[in-house]
Every structure is written in C-alpha cells, then in structure tokens.
C-alpha cells in the first residue's frame, strides 16, 4: 500500500464522519474557558485582598502582621504564576506555524511545572502562618497564647518534614497512579517529571524543525 494510492481513500474518508460543526457550540466552548480564567483570577484577587486587609489591620502587631505578609507574598506569587500562564495562553496565536506553537506550548508547560513544584514544596511551610492568621481573623483567637509556642514550633517542624516525605511519596507512588488522573499530574509536577518531559518534548519539536 503506497501513500499516493491512499489519497483517493482519504478524500472519501470525510464522507463517513458527519460532525455537525455548529458555531453556537464553538462559542460555548470559548466562553466556558474564558469564564474559568476570570473565576480563578477573581478567587486569587479576593484572597490577596483579604490577607492584605488583615496585614494592614495588624500592622502594629508584627507577630500577626509578619505571618500575614508571608501568606500575602505567597498568594501574590501564586496569582502571578497563574496570571502569567493565562496571559501567555491567551496571547498564543494558533494561526502560527505548528512547530512554533508546539515549542511555545511546551515551554509554557515547563514553566507551569516549575511554578507548581515551588508552590507545592513551600506550601507546608505556610501551615503555621495560616493557623496564626486564620485563628485571629476568623475567631479572634491569639494562636501564640492559645495553642502555645511549642505547638506552633512542632507544626513548623512537621511542615518542614512534609517536604521530603511528599517528594518521596510522589517519587515512589506517583507512577503507579492512572496517568490521566489529577493526582498523577500533581505527583509528576512535584518530582520534576513534568518539567523533564516538557523539555524533552520541546527538544523533539526543535529537532523536527532542524532535521532535513
């Protein structure tokens, strides 16, 4: 069977595939993606505003203000990483050549994987500031006095211990999870597998363009 012989067959192939390409459905898909982007950005903005407001209210009490500033910086970094990704995705012109888009998407995937990895690895360290701010903001409780410094220190140490433990679990059990699952994707981001795969895929796209 020769590729040239297949051309007629290919032309006939179209007939059996009766997809009803309706513009209304196409618009629905676009609008849904757009709404999700705005919803996520709105959530980030609300979190930053709440934390910022708490930090401003407790500016005279560094023991509350410092944890709030830490949380705020984390939330800003998170929103910036997501915002950068979303802006890049929206700016992407799918009308550009295939290999150019493939390279851009793979670079973005590698950047996203790096951001998720750092966010996930540093998140356990924020458990203590979150308790301090959360107790104060929601219940008016002073976590230093109520829970005690030893408890908070133990939590900080636990958070620190979670980092290597999380990495070990992701490394050991991540590959056993279903490849399409969210947990697997997270484990891959955490261990750096997503980043490595994205870089390898980027190199394949570049090699394809170079090879004659």
């Amino acid at each position: 069977m020769d590729l040239d012989e297949l051309k007629t067959l290919w032309a006939a192939n179209d007939a059996g595939f009766a997809a009803n390409l309706r513009l209304e459905r196409a618009e629905g898909l676009s609008a849904k993606a757009e709404r999700r982007i705005w919803f996520e950005l709105a959530l980030d903005a609300v979190a930053i505003l709440l934390i910022g407001s708490f930090a401003a209210d407790t500016i005279g009490e560094p023991r509350f203000a410092i944890p709030a500033v830490l949380l705020g910086l984390y939330a800003i970094a998170f929103a910036a990483a997501r915002g950068r990704q979303l802006v890049a995705l929206n700016a992407l012109d799918y009308g550009e050549p295939v290999l150019q888009i493939a390279a851009a998407l793979r670079t973005m995937r590698a950047q996203r994987a790096t951001a998720v990895r750092w966010i996930a690895l540093t998140a356990p360290l924020l458990w203590v500031p979150l308790q301090i701010v959360g107790f104060r903001a929601l219940f008016g409780i002073d976590a230093y006095a109520t829970l005690g410094i030893p408890y908070l220190l133990a939590n900080a140490l636990f958070g620190l211990g979670c980092i290597p433990a999380g990495l070990w679990l992701a490394e050991r059990y991540g590959p056993r999870l279903a490849e399409s699952s969210l947990a697997r994707a997270f484990a891959d981001d955490l261990t750096g597998r997503t980043f490595t795969d994205a870089i390898a895929a980027l190199e394949r796209a570049r090699a394809y363009a170079r090879e004659g």
């Binding site: 590729l3 459905r25 004659g212």
Partner: protein, 182 residues
C-alpha cells in the same frame, strides 16, 4: 443614551458580518476540521469533540486572521495545533499506542481498495506516526502543495520532501510486514 444604543447596534452588525464571512469561509473548507480530527482521534466521540474544538479555536482566532493570506493555510495551522493539543492532553501512552490485535491484522492484511478495511489500514498507518509526521501526511493526502505544507508546519519545502520520502518508505515497510505476517 442614543449614541450608546447606536454603538451597541453597530457592534451587533459588525459581529454578524464577521460571523457571516467566517461561516462562508469555513463552509468552503469544512473538511479541514474533520480530516485533522480523524487523523488524531480514533474514537468517533473524540473526533467530534476535537473537530468542535478546532471550530471553536478558528472562530476565536478569526479576529487575528489576515485576509491577505490564504484562509486554508491559516485554518490548517489552527486545526493541526488544536488537534495536537487535544491529542496530548490527558491521553495515556497506552491509549495513544496503536492497538494492532489479531483481528485488525486479519482485516488490514490485504485490503480491497474502497473497503472499510482499506480505511482502517489507512488509519492504522497514520496512527503509527508521531504528531508532526501525522500532520504532514494529512496535508499530503489532502493534496496540499509542498510550499503550503511547509508554511503550515514551519519548515522548509525541501524538509517536507525529505520527511515525506522517509515516511513513505516507513509506511511501505509496515504494510509489507503486515502482509507477510498474514
């Protein structure tokens, strides 16, 4: 108030003009989303979803379309870009791999031209290719000139010719292997 209403009315008219132009252009090239989707998706439901995503992206990108350039080249680029993203997203390696079981081998060993087996075999061959070669073959099967294929993919026409020759040789070998196995 009156100016605001007039502006809104103008926007609606502009949109309906753009929509009509888009629909008319797409109608002339309506085979592109279907053909690309069928090259990247084996499952009919996936094919329909992929084709719908292609149309969605075409419509979304339409404001950026430069009418000085060929609509077909622009549409092919978008279709292939979307299909590759669709193909890579949430697909496991096992799902992507070509399932060539005994039954399939029986059906594709010696196909009569124009039969379902020939079509199956064509899909088997296309599915064995990587995502970029697959785009190249789809464009070639659609009789696009080398210059347009090069423009869609972002490589040189010489590169297109070289890659196509390699693909043809590989496909002939696969075809021979299947025939000799049966």
């Amino acid at each position: 108030m009156i100016f605001g209403r007039r502006r809104a009315k103008n926007r609606v008219m502009e949109r309906s003009t753009a929509e009509a132009a888009f629909v008319e252009r797409l109608a002339r090239h309506r085979g592109i989303p279907r053909k690309v989707a069928s090259a990247y998706c084996r499952n009919p439901a996936d094919r329909e979803d992929c084709a719908a995503e292609i149309v969605a992206q075409l419509w979304r990108s339409y404001p950026r379309y430069d009418p000085a350039r060929a609509f077909s080249t622009w549409a092919w680029r978008i279709a292939v870009n979307v299909a590759i993203s669709y193909y890579r997203r949430g697909r496991t390696e096992s799902e992507r791999a070509v399932a060539v079981d005994g039954g399939t081998l029986d059906r594709i060993a010696d196909p009569e031209p124009g039969t379902d087996a020939s079509l199956d075999r064509l899909h088997e061959l296309v599915a064995r290719l990587d995502e970029f070669d697959r785009a190249l073959v789809v464009l070639y099967l659609d009789d696009r000139p080398y210059a347009e294929i090069a423009d869609v993919l972002g490589i040189t026409p010489t590169n297109v010719a070289t890659k196509l020759n390699r693909i043809k040789t590989r496909m002939k070998e696969w075809s021979r292997t299947w025939t000799s196995t049966n």
